[in-house]
Amino acid sequence: MRWVRTIAVAGAASALLAGCPFPIPSGYEFISRENVGDGVPVFIKTGITTREEVMMRLGEPDAVAVDDSWLAYASAYGLGGMGLVVFAGGGAGGVAGWQTRYRRLILRFDELGVVSHPNFESKTCTEYGGGMGAKGDYTKPCLDIWGEDTPATHGLSAKRRW
């Protein structure tokens, strides 16, 4: 009966070492807003639309300048992916890869509070993450939806700290 025990031990070891794949469904990231469309909204007209009108239509922005000279609205939508959970050596870990589509609308205003430079950006990137036990890491988003980079990358005034 030694062969039965050998098969049982081998089977158990294989089950423990084998990864369990799981799909990552598509959908907006939990902390993302969902009302950023593809492109500059048609209601926004340079030289005409006011800051008030923008906010009445899109709501509170995700990022704003200390002097209100620009506002940013952004979203992150996961396009899905695959993950793998691995159990080994009494611990557990996992790796995953997924695609995320980022959208960011940056609106600059003149001193009268009228849109002067509307700018829409969209990027789709593949991201990875992984971890073992309590340690893990993941790739940095290819577009910052909180607008931390906006002053430097767009030559704008500093972002307000809430």
Binding site: R33, M56, E60
Partner: protein, 110 residues
């Protein structure tokens, strides 16, 4: 008798696990808002501190969520969207509500 009591307790415990949180929202939370009448003070008294202030206080915003009972005001502002709605209010130079808009930012209806 003991087994019947035990079964009753077990049943109650099992059902309690299925119970959902009772709604805390208020359907009439925003009914006090009237353009041209409501003042900034009225708004602060009803809704407390706004989540953000723009143009020196001329425009203020609140974050609201919704349950079966109605609307609820979100707590302190955090990075990222917790809630379904953004309430935007603009005031005139006398502090009277000029315009307001309840914008749906999450779970958009298709």
């Amino acid at each position: 008798m003991i087994s019947r009591t035990f079964l009753l307790v077990a049943l109650v415990a099992a059902l309690a696990g299925c119970a959902s949180t009772p709604p805390i929202g208020k359907k009439d939370l925003l009914t006090f808002l009237h353009d041209g009448k409501t003042t900034r003070e009225d708004v602060m008294l009803h809704l407390a501190e706004p989540s953000a202030i723009f143009e020196g206080g001329r425009i203020i915003t609140y974050r609201l969520d919704e349950d079966e009972g109605g609307y609820t005001i979100a707590g302190a502002r955090t990075q990222g969207w917790c809630c379904k709605y953004s309430l935007v209010l603009s005031f005139d130079e006398k502090g009277v509500l000029r315009r307001h808009s309840l914008v749906r930012v999450k779970e958009l209806l298709q």
